[in-house]
Amino acid sequence: MKQKNHTVIELIVNNHPGVMSHITGLFSRRGYNLEGILCGAIGQGATSVMFLLVRKNEQYQQVLLQLNKLNDVIELKEREDYDHTVFNRIGDLF
């Protein structure tokens, strides 16, 4: 089910073992909510795409700005049009 007030941030990031820590660490240390995360290498494997499911609350603009500051974030897009079912289907894996 598409949840109200949620949106997806799409990131293109450098693909190396530390990048996930950079992204998730930002959320934990700044007290932002992160509801879901999907990630995979793209192209030749030098970059990855990440989909972050976040709540659109008063922190949202700060989240975008802080993510943009990370050196490993190459591109950031707000994806209002996201296909929420991908996050729901995670349940199928159990």
């Binding site: 073992p17 820590s21 700060q62 500051k69």
Partner: protein, 553 residues
């Protein structure tokens, strides 16, 4: 060409113009030290990695250029963390190279293995774990670019021992990138801001370290003078304008001047330049300047609207911004507003040392030091009451001459930072104001001072207590003192002497002020113990959590 990873690092540091590196060797960075041995770069052996980190900070803060420190893996890296975190919060460009266990051992809990990369993510602007010698050719120029571009900050480069030893064949040395300049500023926005300034009745310029970082001190003064706008500084902005300037109303915030806090509260327009609305500057944020529109200009976009919503904002280099704004702003007299400011200033006199009282009163000693050394001397502080007294009273007249730990408030900052500042500015006098609590957090660096003989003086405000803590317990914790008074107090002047430094104890001489002046004229390291009354409090102050208008004294 064929070079090892360690040789690549050292060569690129030379190419970058690094002439001094502070650090401590250990197993995991010995290949790097082997390469450093053959270099013209001077190595300063600190006695604790935190000291090395702060020596690098002293070089970086006083010059504005990135400085470098070295530490080994494990405990070397963990010892460095405080200095790195301090650099992050005050946006200081430090590039730290840490040794790491060999790649094949990573993840095995090998001897002196620690996850330096993981530990430094939250306290650096960026960090790298280098996986091959070839990568260094990209990583090192990139690390300096990141450290020095936009809002500066620390970068950690973790280099496994085998990567330092690995030989790499490559065609040519990489170049260093010029720090990239950000976005263009729309002329329309400049016009709107100029208009807002024109229509404001009570504008105030509040500036922070961004003015100094961007080299905009002159422009700041020109803007203020053209439109007659009073100026107030955050603690880290001190030095951007002469404290004698008629439009300057002093430092804002918890230990700012009463009139700066009052005048800022009165404002209908705040031009916030290169600052981040730290709570020590704003007091209770929801109460801060409730009647003012805020125009916020900062190079870090994420600072805009983070704490205080801005009425208008510009994400830009301040030098670019001010160069465009000044011609667009009209000349104004602002007689009424300035008269009101001067009245406020006269009605709320500034802190002065008690006149015929204690010769050792910190404010008195600060005045004496200022009168005794050149105006462009570099002042460092530790953290505590002495830091607040110096920030309040010392006439800091030029940029990059007041080095203090603002964001992290790190005790132990003052002495090693002074060493770095002295090494990077051989023509200048450096004075570190310290407290007995803070001094003991890095006093092993007296040995580094004995080695390097920088032209610096340490002034120890010795009150036998953790003074600022004692003050808070007195004022806000029912005078229930715990953990704030030292049961034993060492003979600090004696200790400094045993390290091989000249030292004097002002308590033990017949003419303390004469002895102080004499000691400050020496062109070599000297340690000066100043006995300070333990009951002295720093006033005025805004109680923690209160609004800036509630200043007590």
């Amino acid at each position: 060409m064929k070079y090892s990873g360690a040789e690549i690092i050292v060569h690129l540091l030379e190419k970058k113009g690094i002439d001094t590196i502070a650090g401590i060797p250990g197993s995991a960075n010995l290949p790097l030290y082997r390469a450093l041995h053959d270099s013209k770069i001077k190595h300063v052996l600190a006695r604790h990695e935190q000291g090395a980190g702060f020596i690098a900070q002293g070089m970086a803060r006083s010059t504005g250029k990135a400085a470098v420190c070295f530490a080994t893996s494990g405990p070397g890296a963990t010892n460095l963390l405080t200095a790195i975190a301090d650099a992050k919060l005050d946006s200081v460009p430090v590039v730290a190279f840490t040794g790491q266990v060999a790649t094949s051992l990573i993840g095995t809990d090998a001897f002196q293995e620690i996850d330096t990369y993981g530990l430094t993510i939250p306290i650096t602007k960026h960090n790298f774990l280098v996986r091959s010698a070839a990568e260094l050719l990209d990583v090192i120029p990139e690390a300096f670019r990141i450290a020095e571009t936009g809002r500066p900050g620390p970068v950690v480069i973790d280099v496994p021992k085998d990567v330092q030893q690995q030989v790499c064949e490559f065609g040519q040395w990489p170049g260093f990138h010029e720090p990239t300049k950000p976005q263009v500023i729309e002329k329309q926005l400049i016009d709107k801001i100029a208009q807002a300034i024109h229509y404001a009745v009570k504008p105030v310029i509040m500036f922070g370290a961004g003015i100094i970082e961007s080299g905009s001190c002159q422009l700041l003064r020109l803007l203020a003078e053209k439109n007659n706008i009073p100026l107030t500084s955050t603690m880290r902005g001190l030095g951007a304008i002469s404290p004698e300037h008629p439009l300057y109303v002093g430092m804002i915030g918890m230990h700012g001047t009463k009139y700066a806090n009052r005048i800022t509260e009165e404002a209908d327009l705040i031009l916030a330049l290169g600052l981040r609305f730290d709570d020590r500057a704003t007091g209770k944020v929801s109460e801060f300047c409730r009647n003012a529109q805020i125009i916020h200009v900062d190079i870090d976009k994420a600072e805009i609207n983070k704490i205080k919503p801005a009425f208008m904002s510009v994400n830009a280099d301040l030098h670019d911004f001010l160069s465009l704004l000044i011609p667009s702003v009209d000349k104004k007299e602002r007689r009424e507003w300035l008269d009101e400011c001067y009245e406020t200033k006269d009605a709320l006199p500034y802190v002065v040392a008690p006149l015929n009282g204690d010769v050792f009163h910190p404010l008195r000693i600060i005045d004496e030091v200022a009168a005794s050394i050149p105006a462009d001397s570099i002042i460092t502080t530790d953290v505590g009451q002495h830091q607040m007294w110096v920030a309040m009273k010392y006439p800091i007249t030029s940029p990059r001459t007041f080095l203090t730990s603002g964001g992290l408030g790190t005790m132990g900052f003052g002495v090693p930072t002074a060493i770095g500042a002295a090494l990077a500015n051989p023509g200048k006098k450096v004075v570190a104001f310290s407290g007995d609590g803070s001094f003991m957090m890095n006093m092993q660096e007296l040995a580094t001072i004995a080695d390097e003989k920088p032209n610096m003086a340490i002034l120890l405000f010795n009150n036998g207590t953790l003074g600022l803590v004692r003050q808070q317990q007195e004022l806000f914790f029912d005078k229930k003192y715990i953990g704030s008074k030292f049961k034993s107090t060492p003979d600090f002047a004696g200790i400094a002497k045993c390290f091989g430094l000249k030292s004097i104890d002002l308590e033990k001489v017949s003419d303390p002020l004469g002895a102080l002046h004499e000691a400050l004229q020496l062109n070599e390291p000297v340690f000066i113990n100043v006995p300070v009354n333990a009951d002295e409090n720093v006033f005025p102050m805004v109680p923690p959590g209160a609004a800036n208008k509630v200043m007590i004294d």
